[in-house]
Symmetry: C2
Subunit: 251 residues, 2 copies
């Protein structure tokens, strides 16, 4: 989260979001302006803090500007499952705009900075800017698409492949917003986090990471990911970026 973060303009709260959206469709200057004006406030939070707790009724959504955030659910016995890891430019709780009562927890995995977007401004967008509405809707469909891929991962991929897949996805998503270098990116997470995100135990994640490292496919260490063999990593994970819908077309 240091050097690379500077690749996007840290002073423009819309920077990453626009990179993400414009990879999928055109966003006019007017629409950009509307988005800009929808931000009411910018906040920061240290790592580990909950942002939204399940069951809460939301009246504003959050746009992640910096850091990593996850959506997760806990079982009664304490087991945790991470549904999605969010990176800068992701609209965290756009789901909350219409679901109102949020069904999962959202927490900061690193120190984060995010913008607050009140629901009434989103509602205004749905009333006056149909195309922008479709773009925002689309971005929630992207979340759903990633959810589906995760279901496939956890349901049918082996432990190594699941981890490999997660590292592939984050690489592509971070690169899109300028937060990944050439076959490397900062990922300041713990092995437990990867475990919670892949439906494994941290012990097993540790062993599989060692395997990936020994096989010279990818190294995750000290909060950094180094991809040694991108082709092999993708093949191992059966990673095909189609589900990320990186085609620019009218939505």
């Amino acid at each position: 989260m240091t050097a690379e973060t500077c690749a996007i303009d840290r002073d423009d709260p819309l920077g990453a979001l626009l990179l993400k959206l414009r990879a999928r469709d055109l966003v006019s200057d007017e629409e950009e302006q509307v988005l800009r004006e929808s931000i009411a406030e910018i906040r920061e939070l240290p790592a580990g803090k909950p942002i939204v707790r399940a069951g809460t009724i939301l009246s504003e959504s959050t746009l992640l500007l910096d850091g990593l955030v996850c959506r997760y659910m806990d079982m009664a016995d304490g087991q945790r499952q991470i549904m999605e890891i969010h990176v800068a430019g992701d609209f965290l709780d756009l789901h909350g705009f219409l679901l109102k009562r949020i069904d999962h927890n959202v927490g900061a995995m690193t120190p984060v900075r995010f913008a607050l977007v009140p629901h009434d401004r989103l509602r205004r967008i749905t009333e006056e800017y149909p195309h922008l509405t479709r773009i925002l809707w689309f971005s929630t469909l992207l979340d759903a698409a990633m959810h589906r891929e995760k279901i496939l991962s956890i349901g049918r991929r082996s432990a190594v492949a699941r981890i490999a897949h997660l590292l592939c996805e984050l690489y592509v998503r971070l690169k899109l917003v300028g937060l990944a270098g050439d076959c490397r990116y900062a990922l300041p997470l713990k092995q437990v986090d990867l475990a919670d995100a892949t439906g494994l135990t941290s012990v097993h994640v540790n062993r599989m990471l060692r395997k990936l490292r020994n096989d010279e496919v990818v190294t995750f260490r000290g909060g950094e990911v180094l991809i040694h063999d991108w082709e092999r990593l993708q093949r191992l994970a059966e990673f095909h970026e189609t589900y990320l819908h990186l085609e620019r077309r009218p939505r």
Copy 2:
């Protein structure tokens, strides 16, 4: 799929959809009319037929009127994972409206009847009916919420609990559209289907079903589900219907 199906008006293609939507928000007569006019055609398909293949670019979405449909993805080695099972009243590929290129397969699990809704009519809705747009958007967010619950299921629940959870969810969803009786409903699926939907093998599903039957919690046999102890079934599955967002509130 026989007696119960008559509970809703089979002649009204919007019957189930409206039941589903009106459980979550008000739908005005005008909006109902707009939805009705968005249907271009009604089709039927026998069991086992693919409806949409991954990678296809769609120009119309489908509203399921009758039968069971699933969204699934296959691994290279032939393993299948079902992401979601759809029941009457579900908008199958509303996701395709904005994603355009669909990232997963959609297939008929039983003989089905569905309505085709061209994308240009959906687009018109986003331009002229903001509230109806939000309702449709909301319904895709429901899919995402179910996806998240499935991630939790496959990632952290035991085999019995996963099956129990699936049977709970289908009970509630079918009941909502009048397709489930009192602690019983028709579910004309094979054990392999349940396996593909829970990330298990059919052999193991078979054993777990026997366990559920022996423990007198629930019986799945001959395409029918009989819930003997709804309380215990929910407890076993850690099923909490909150994620189905069954609250009527302005969206």
